[in-house]
Symmetry: C2
Subunit: 478 residues, 2 copies
Amino acid sequence: MPYMEEQAAPMDFTKYFSVETVNRQRSALKVLRPYFEIPGMVSFGTGIPHPSTFPVNAMTISIPFAEKSVFIPGYNSLEPESLLPLAPYTAPSKAEPLIPDLADALSYSATYGAKHLLVWLKESIKRIHAPKYDDWEVCLTAGNTDGTDAVLRTLCNRGDTMLVEEFAYPGLLSPAATQGINCVGVPMDTDGVKADALDELMENWDEATQGRTPKLILMVPTCSNPCGMTMSEQRKRDVYRVAQKWDLLIVEDDPYCFLQIRPNGADSPIIPTFISLDTDGRVIRIDSFSKIVAPGSRLGYISAHKVLAEKLMNSRESATQCPSGFSVAAISAVLRAWGGHEGFEQKYIPYISDIYAKRCLNMISLLERYAPASTIEIPKGSGGMFLWVRLKIESHPDVNKRSADEIEQSVFQTMIEDRVLCVPSVYFKAPSKTVLTREEAARNSYLRISFALPPPEEMEEGAKRMGKSLRKEWQVEA
Amino acid sequence: MPYMEEQAAPMDFTKYFSVETVNRQRSALKVLRPYFEIPGMVSFGTGIPHPSTFPVNAMTISIPFAEKSVFIPGYNSLEPESLLPLAPYTAPSKAEPLIPDLADALSYSATYGAKHLLVWLKESIKRIHAPKYDDWEVCLTAGNTDGTDAVLRTLCNRGDTMLVEEFAYPGLLSPAATQGINCVGVPMDTDGVKADALDELMENWDEATQGRTPKLILMVPTCSNPCGMTMSEQRKRDVYRVAQKWDLLIVEDDPYCFLQIRPNGADSPIIPTFISLDTDGRVIRIDSFSKIVAPGSRLGYISAHKVLAEKLMNSRESATQCPSGFSVAAISAVLRAWGGHEGFEQKYIPYISDIYAKRCLNMISLLERYAPASTIEIPKGSGGMFLWVRLKIESHPDVNKRSADEIEQSVFQTMIEDRVLCVPSVYFKAPSKTVLTREEAARNSYLRISFALPPPEEMEEGAKRMGKSLRKEWQVEA
């Protein structure tokens, strides 16, 4: 029989995969995606800004090779007639910080980002956060996810430990796990991470059983995702002191900073941030335009001690290289059109935060109206996009028969049957060194409600459905 | 004496750095930056597209919160009057692949990227490269640097070996080194990587002395950076067969693909690419809009077997997340305005490649006119942005006194004194297992000349100065 070449076997790609690829954890929230697609579902699931808040609702681009300009539609603006009237143009003076210009923006920029925008952002950080030391620097990122990637790659090795909030953003937990960084949650109360719990955790850290001693803590201190909590100034001071004691770096991931509800609106200053309290240069602050301007801008910025800022940016040289020039030009022009710093701080932030504040307070009053008080504990709400509603598992009929996690899952499933989607707290739970008693666990179960996106009538319908599910679960009369 | 708290010592940040940060290698070319800034320098140093080629020369954005549209200037278009006339707008039909729309683009998109643009790009890959197997997929990246980062992170661990071209792009060598990936250069001739040299390298690979057996080879097969070379179809077939023999993945980094000079211009097909020859799914093709549209778009795309494409995109979920929506909307609108696939392939590519082809041929004729034939060997040129000019070290007066590297450096310095900047080949030399004899080394020394950016009169002046320097160095009469 003549020699015959066998049919080539399909390639086995797995042998080419890196350790990261083999161990990759994707965001836990991805498993919820099929539920979003159920017809008629009211979703309190995602923290996506409403497109009506996007800063640009249409544009035209002038295309030399096509010898014409073309219109690009946007939210509620489907034809060229809906373009807002073109304002007379005055070229920015050299002294003006914001200089939108495509001839520059469409070429390679420095990794730190377009200089004019950096100057503006540095001034903005100074005006709003007023860092207490001199050697800080600002650099651009391609959004907060990119910023977080820069921080993790720059500071952490496989096997390192990073402290995070007890309930943390899956978009942080999953890349950390993929990179082999062990996240450990620090217990929280309604004011965020507890300083004494942090101190105790560090005091009792045992490398032999717990792995490498943590060298940084990452928090979302304002209107946090998932908890919607905002840390008070005092709590920040307390946590900062503990960080000093144990020489921890603090990563302040603060995309919702400007969405906080302030007692007297724009007249109240924002709650002092970690970077504004920092005297040592141990705070890395990550800002983003995603939540207050548009997620699709993929534009953010990091403020940190210049030694750290340089290392963070060096890491981007071989990653994103620099943010999109279309984004830089457009966002610079938007900030200029809004009236620079004054317009941003005095007019735009109050406007955008008010949109979410109203939604937040509306959601709270809907829950108060439709959900039986014996089933959930409704938080005060601090703005942003999320409410963190505690399930009163301790009064659930099955409290002695099933675990808190099982009851939480059952509540979630009942709500899905009733066509309303909230995210159970289990999806946000960071690995923890704390063992809860059965009673403690019953008091530590939550739903994350995102109120950012649904139209008002859907919010009400969603709250009604939640009430119905909760009554079923807790066997409470209507 | 009362206890006095000592003044806090400045923080030592180095203890927080990751292994990557400690070992980070930045692009070797960065050391050349000061030379760029010398007044009067004619630079053949950088491969940056000329801003006159950018696809958008101005735009307007409609800003609801400012209740107006504003103008953003661009190349040669400094006021609203220079905007090209706005074409009548017809909304894309559902069947049309390109659907520029800011309401979508400014929100989060799937990591694979905006679906409409992906459909278009997949069709483009099919039309131009016609992969021979079915299970391939296209995904968007935030540019080629991001695409390369995705490939390295997905496939390589610290200590892995990656094969690269003997002279390789520093923007590849430096992140690989930072990530602890050992690059090994494969010997080249004027047709790129030599298949027999690749086979020999693999045949004789000894893990004990050389480290892990390579599992992938990355090449820039068209108008390569730095060598300006374009691999023939036959060479690609030969290299592909060797890759099959040793089960190597092939990464085809091809940003200059559409800038190749074709014998009959647009009437000649492009030289078949690796992905068009691939039957196994072992080729990962990285495309970019940076060189043919605009670097600042930070938009590229990867085509690969769907198993690999999925892993590559999963890695981006926790990095760039998705490309800029402003870029996606603008580039989609540009592609639409250019007339879709036909316009891109039949009109735009011939137009843009012609610009660089003319520059390439002009640079060659200038070198022929001004540089003594005894000092350099001028390549044929294949388009793109670079010429790779061999220094005839073998006929340099100091050939027996100094090493080839020293003479190359001396030529570079003489040119700097004469105010013309080319990049010596030492900056591109990948680590190698091949030991060259003194004679071989004398014949393996080059200058990279980038002809992409300088205006024609500067090109001529630069060539004159090069001629002057070369005459000095080789002690040749004018």
